[in-house]
Amino acid sequence: MDKNLLSNPRNKMSDFFYQWDFLGIAFGFMVLMPLIGMQRTTDFILFCIYVLAYTLLYGYMGRLSFGHMLYLGTGAYAATLFAAYVSKNPFLALLFAICAGLAIGLILGPIVVRATGACFALINLAFNHMGYFLALVAFAKYTGGEDGRAASFAKFGFFDFNSKPLKFWVALFCLILVFFFLKKLISSPYGVLIKSIKEDENRVKFLGYNTFRYKWVTFVISTTLTAFAGALTVLNYGYMTTGFIDPGRNVEVIFAALIGGPESLYGAILGGVAYMIISNFLAIYIPRWEMFLGIALLIIVFKFKTGVVGFISDRMKNEINA
């Protein structure tokens, strides 16, 4: 939707913006950094990667997962355990976490993607709960259970993951990479196809496509990127707790995707930043945080279904048509 709008031939200006938008995003975070501090901005960026991965599944393919913390936790635990037992090389740990995300997507995919709607949401939640149990109780010897465990990474060349500026630039680079990848993906024929699955899966089947395979691939991409975000978060914090896999926290990413507008990558980044600002700063002043979150969600669902980006692009569309 954003592409059609922004690459309107009458409007060379927005075409230019569409091509160089990642510079705008990078610039935005660089402006944000001195305002709120480097550590926090890194945190924001990593959450945005998570929201982007979630948006591919929810916004573009229309599958609301209520258990995405599982995949974030998979990445986080994979990176931590790799660092603890195999090698302290941060890049190998990242690679291992990505493979873990890929593996869990491949294994759970055939079960999960056959469901739609509420069933999809709930089966993810159920798996999330099983994962939480495994991390908290069954493998507490390795994961540290409720206390979590520290994750230390060795230096690799000039990549020292104890320095804050380096973490910031790596995170920003990863965000741009993920953003670029998803942008190419959703404007490709494949992207059109998954958007069609959201609209009407039966018709896509009727055209002769094996929708199961496309849904599975999309699910795997989403879990892999989410695990990547989880691993980066561990690199950033240097420790890992069960909070990374807690099923009670699933609503965060849904909220972030909704405020920005679930059908847009810009919306995902905007929503991620907005959610982090609200939860980092406003939560201090809002004593009833959950109630605030609930009321905000109700307002979004009943009044602004398309989120901030959808709201703005609708306005712009009206202006162009006028």
């Binding site: 609301l64 509420a118 069933c119 939640l125 149990f133 849904i254 979150l293 609930g294």
Partner: protein
Amino acid sequence: MVQIMIPINTIAYGLTIGGILYIISIGLSLTFGTMRIVNFAHPIAYTLGAYFLITLLPFIKGKFFWGALISVLAIIPIGYFIERYVIRKLYGVAIDYAIIATYAVFLIGIDLIKWIWGTNPIPLSDPIGREIILFSVPLPLYRVTVIGISLAIYLCLWLFFKKSIVGKIVVAALEDKDAVRSLGINVNRYFSFVFVLGSCLAGLGGVLYAPITSVHPYMGFMILLLSFAVVIVGGLGNLQGTFFSAFGLGMVIAITGRYWPPASEAMVFVVMAVVLIFRPIEV
């Protein structure tokens, strides 16, 4: 003697949990079957039921029965309010928005409970406190009563849906909403009734479960997941299925709990996942 003593305890525990799960899950199953909405706000009625009970007990000098009755009746306006101002606006909306909106109601409800009653768990003592001897095994009478109540509710609902006109309309609407509407029946009014009935039963579930566990604001979260598992295993909108799957999963919890207590709830989700693999539900 010892060998059979433990299994009977486990079976009784499983049936108690199953009975409570059944009472709570009916509302969820009915709401889904009639309105095609997965109601994440359902455990609010459950939690409120338990909290109303502990608030009332000092005033009525510990008479559990009256406390339970008033608590369940107090759920009626709350159920109606949620139905009227949230659920009814979600007809025909994409199912993901319905999930998010009801989850938002759940968050608001939990926060209100934390605001009013605080976050500390409140324990509640067994209201009967006596034990009966069954096959020479002592069982708390309260748990046996809970099993009895759930069976009575099952029978009442069966009669209600078989014999009364309101029940028949609801059953017909579960099958085909539009056909019922074309007979000139205002189905939404019946849905509203069904929703309030489901909420009251969830409140009753909370009241009955309160003396077995402790009362705290997040008690609804786990129950929500468990009753979803019940409804999915039993089939959404299938009242018979809900009954059998509730007791089945109650037994799963009890038996797993006997060998490895922390795994008892995770095991329910294993069962649910297996069921979903073999019988995916089109929603």
